[in-house]
Symmetry: C2
Subunit: 503 residues, 2 copies
């Protein structure tokens, strides 16, 4: 590149870095909001977050940046990574320009009100407490579909926001294939004659905290570039690859919830820590998509975290820490207990099979909410009906029903599907890694996660948004996204001929 | 006000509120930086803070705001509080306009580097580690004096920043009067034949934490509008009257340090929580000055917290919690132990007499640093010399010497004097309160802090910056700032005829 082009590219980098500073500052405010904010501070915080959102929007809409981007995009001397950054940013810029500033601020404030209504509603275990706010938010989300534009379905605009290129048509196809796979697997498991033995997962809070921290350190989550805190709902948020925050929640009666949630958020966190700091604020320094983000957390949580090898490692640690309770527990019993499949009410505590029932239920509901065939007031009724018909469960109250997730109150429609897509990607990535690293089970059982982290650092992290989800999958695994790998994985692990049953 | 004027005033309020959002968002980033930031996140955080500083500066420099302010200032229909807000904002605006944006950013980045150099220097117990960064910062502070302007002394510009109207001339006079008062008091105390009995102040960390929280709750610090966390150096920071953060540090060998620091920061915090939320972002919603801020913390810490009445309350609680250790301790012994006056190395742990030696030493040093008669490289030498001559102490290492305070690394020159000015105000406020509330000792001993908080909420909090420090003191106490009240207070408490010695 000649020095004039270099200068322009640097100017673009500087502007983007400044916008990233505002966005990540806002992320700090959001992190604090969900970890440490005093109750009465909610209103002021909502206003502060709205102001920063508006500022970031203004800065990212500046005509000067637009001209610079168009100029750089037209410059054929710019190739490779630089060109990719420019084109992706121009795409983001054009999309951002569609939003009026007042809409951005209104959305941010409405999200804040809905989030706090959700907190309040959970206190009363009553969806009706948040329903009016959710309704207003949903209206804004519909307006957002119109602003963003879509070809076929009002929901497409939001699916596309979370994973570029995903449409109702595409998701209907994948989820359509998946539904019978899930049903068959669940039926086969339920027909087994020897159910797995349930373990006592109770543990004092401070010991659970320590266990979670130890496992995160082993996985390679870098505590000099991140930390863990406690929140109502576990999440990962990044302010820079050197400052990644994950959260957990602890239930004294069940450390398994905390444990696999730590591994899950740790997977997200390790991805964020692995993004390129030199590309800060640029597309190549950002996660490929939410589906790929979820592939990372799922790979660690399920393909690794619920493997025989990991269970062996974990049980050895538990035997050391709690000889009394775990002395008599065999590896096989522990592995089975870690892989119990049983319909349950709470998504985040679900096993790796029925988890996707939870997602498919939400997918249908939010599709219907957005297209207007479902009214928010009727949400609990249809939610509960779906849980009855798909999982055979009665929902006793809204906290165990449609109030369990923070997502809708955050305005995240189109997010849930990425959990299932991510799980499909996870299996495909994991199969590829396992093939290339035949000793993986010995490594994991020995607590050596370096080979896995290295593989991910080579094949996933450094690309940022260079490839979209499906492109990255093709490049990395040589295959398109499909349900057959996932089906084979479930088959091997859970169907009648699996080693679980025939040790 | 007619509706056009009302509309303009509202426009001004909205602009100021937006700027406050950016500033307080930046305060959240700074709070997080000193409580929870992972080590490697420091650089990115510094950049994010610099960006927000620059943005706030830009927004507060907008010509549109300037025109609006001038228009409102010229409007004779606006009177009272509204007029005061306008005039104070116009004053701030004019001052802010003097700063070039690049200077603001450079300063913010240099402060970040110096702060982290201070952290590093403390690890090595060596001032020389931070000296080059402090030197660069000092150069910027000198430039800042020129930008701000001053009549007589380069240090005046910075004194004025922390307490409007304070000059070297004024401070030299007050501190000149104070020096012999302090020396006489200390000499008198040291000549006493019966030294106070030292207590065992050790306590496990979690119990200390609980004790501090209990006392803060009793004082009336509102934990629904604030919280306490742990940091290297205790501080108070506010994001809104409904979200005030205080911090503490805990030394297992000495809970007295934690305890009176909690009371101190609690005093700051209660002030911030008492500011008017309707004046958010406006001068009348801000603390009067740093001296007045310090008067609040000192009043709680010393005039209340080290009074016989408070010691009685505290000892009763300690006897409940630790019957073994405190059963034999009399109120008199406890009161004396809480009021031991003894030269020591660390300012924040100093008693209420020698504390001001620490401040007067720093005042002279920073005056000399700014006027250039002292080089940063010579700081440890002159620091140690002053401690020897004024307090008779040898400084064993820089952590116990010139590295003990965060202030200079934060670029805060002119801050230390407000601690002593605040203590003088505190005594004057306290005397006025005590006169108006003759039963104050019974209230405090009974753990009833409502009358005090009500008095402060009536006479100090709601004025915001309506009055400057000296005006507020005159209005509230009927007297100018003086050293004679403080002298009388020390006399009564510490000189030979005091009840401490003749029970």
């Amino acid at each position: 590149l000649d020095s004039a082009t270099k200068g322009k590219y640097q100017q673009y980098k500087n502007l983007m870095s400044r916008i990233a500073d505002i966005r990540y500052a806002n992320a700090v405010l959001q992190w604090d909001q969900e970890t440490y904010l005093p109750v009465k501070g909610a209103e002021a915080r909502g206003q502060q977050i709205a102001t920063l959102s508006e500022l970031a929007h203004e800065q990212f809409s500046s005509p000067f940046l637009g001209e610079l981007l168009n100029e750089l995009a037209a410059d054929t001397n710019i190739t490779g990574n630089e060109r990719k950054n420019i084109l992706l940013t121009l795409d983001d810029y054009s999309k951002n320009k569609k939003y009026p500033g007042s809409f951005v601020r209104g959305m941010s404030e409405q999200i804040n009100r809905t989030f706090h209504a959700w907190i309040e509603a959970r206190k009363h275990k009553s969806f009706s407490v948040m329903q009016p706010e959710l309704d207003k938010l949903l209206e804004l989300k519909k307006q957002e579909s119109d602003i963003l534009g879509y070809e076929k379905h009002v929901y497409d605009a939001h699916l596309n926001e979370h994973d570029k290129g995903v449409t109702v048509e595409f998701a209907d196809k994948i989820f359509g294939e998946l539904q019978p796979i899930l049903t068959d697997t669940l039926t086969a498991i339920q027909q087994k004659t020897e159910p797995a033995e349930a373990l006592d997962w109770s543990m004092p809070k401070d010991l659970q905290w320590q266990l979670g921290m130890d496992i995160l350190k082993l996985m390679g989550f870098d505590f000099t570039s991140g930390r863990q805190d406690v929140s109502e709902h576990p999440f990962t948020i990044s302010f820079h690859p050197t400052d990644v925050r994950i959260t957990t929640r602890i239930n004294e009666n069940d450390f398994s919830g905390m444990l696999w949630s730590c591994i899950h958020e740790g997977g997200h966190g390790i991805y964020e820590q692995g993004l390129l700091p030199d590309e800060y604020g640029l597309p190549l320094g950002e996660a490929a998509s939410l589906s790929i983000h979820e592939s990372q957390s799922r790979l660690w949580e399920n393909n690794i975290g619920r493997s025989r090898a990991f269970c062996k490692l974990l049980l050895a640690r538990l035997k050391d820490a709690f000889p009394q309770r775990f002395r008599e527990v065999s590896e096989e019993v522990f592995y089975k207990a870690a892989n119990i499949v049983k319909p349950s009410l709470i998504r985040t505590e679900a096993d790796e099979v029925t988890y996707h029932h939870h997602v498919l239920i939400r997918y249908e509901l939010e599709k219907n909410l957005l297209e207007g065939t479902l009214k928010t007031a009727d949400l609990p009724f249809y939610w509960n009906q779906a849980y009855k018909s798909q999982l055979g469960l009665d929902v006793p109250d809204d906290n165990q029903g449609c109030l369990q997730d923070v997502h809708w109150s955050h305005g995240s429609f189109g997010y849930f599907p990425t959990y299932t897509l991510g799980s499909l990607y996870a299996v495909q990535f994991f199969d590829t890694y396992a093939k290339s690293s035949p000793g993986w089970e010995d490594d994991i059982a020995a607590g050596n996660f370096h080979p896995l982290k290295n593989w991910l650092s080579t094949h996933i992290f450094p690309y940022g948004r260079y490839y979209n989800s499906r492109e990255l999958c093709n490049k990395c695994t040589g295959e398109s996204l499909n349900t057959s790998r996932f089906s084979a994985y479930l088959n091997e692990k859970f169907k009648s001929n699996s080693p679980i049953e025939h040790e």
